[in-house]
Point group: C2
Chain length 171, copies 2
């Protein structure tokens, strides 16, 4: 039942691939808006999760995982450090490296983040019954695996910004 477009053509624009991109962008936007309430961007949330999973890694490694150049990672980490969410410890075995860790405050914000993630999941899949929700997850998991997508932070994070309300620094 292709409910839309009766203009002959393949009904609703595109099939699953198009819907995937459309819904994915929408979901990413909703998530960005949601965690903006925690004063976090998706990339910042991604770093917190990476540090929760594997503490003590170097900036270079983390920058690679987040898909950003090391030079951009510096001010990125600076802000989270100033906010007391992460901590740069010196790595004693190689003094060139930092070992990044979550602070206690970072851990508790991460807990908020997990709550936000659960609410987000419900919001996005609101239209589905619990069984359908599971079905969808299973299908998507298979697809992600087949495409070699890693379970971690996804690169779509890079381009999503939470419609910032024009808070310019000075001047």
């Amino acid at each position: 039942m292709s409910i839309n477009r009766e203009d002959g053509r393949p009904g609703r624009q595109g099939g699953a691939a198009f819907l995937l991109a459309q819904l994915g962008a929408h979901a990413a936007k909703l998530f960005a808006e949601r965690i903006a309430g925690l004063d976090l961007t998706p990339a910042q949330a991604g770093l917190l999760r990476l540090l929760a999973r594997t503490p003590g890694r170097s900036q270079r490694e983390l920058a690679d995982d987040l898909g950003m150049p090391p030079s951009r990672f510096v001010p990125f980490a600076d802000e989270l450090e100033e906010r007391g969410l992460i901590e740069r410890r010196k790595n004693p075995s190689d003094r060139r490296l930092y070992a990044l860790h979550l602070t206690e405050q970072g851990e508790s914000l991460l807990a908020e983040l997990h709550k936000a993630g659960a609410a987000h999941e419900q919001q996005v899949c609101q239209a589905l019954s619990p069984e359908e929700h599971q079905q969808l997850s299973a299908l998507l998991r298979r697809m992600a695996e087949q495409h070699g997508l890693s379970p971690g932070v996804h690169p779509g994070y890079r381009s999503i910004r939470p419609d910032r309300p024009h808070v310019r620094s000075e001047q």
Copy 2:
């Protein structure tokens, strides 16, 4: 300790919403790469499709649909016009407006675009059986409808660029 995943394995991050965003970004990237072979960006493809569906609209309307400011639409349309894919006709009833149309060349490129779209659909859903593929489409359609997403061009187009190989015009 991360309350993240309890199944031992670091667990795939997130549920359906996360997978949706991840796969959606991946699909959008694949599509951008594919149509880069036609010398089109996703936004350009979007305009061609809009013009095929409803010819003769004004730049302002089209810019709105594509989610770009009118000022940005001007050079955007310029390029497609120079390439002979679209045409600016004067609207006789209101001489402030242009009426944009596809050229014949634009129509035939659109046909190529549809072929690319079909191949893309297969590539993205490769992991699924035909039945599962249909299942997925149905679930996603319901979700898109519930979220009020229109069947047309989606705004995720805005941020996807096809990793351009540094082909600068002249200079």
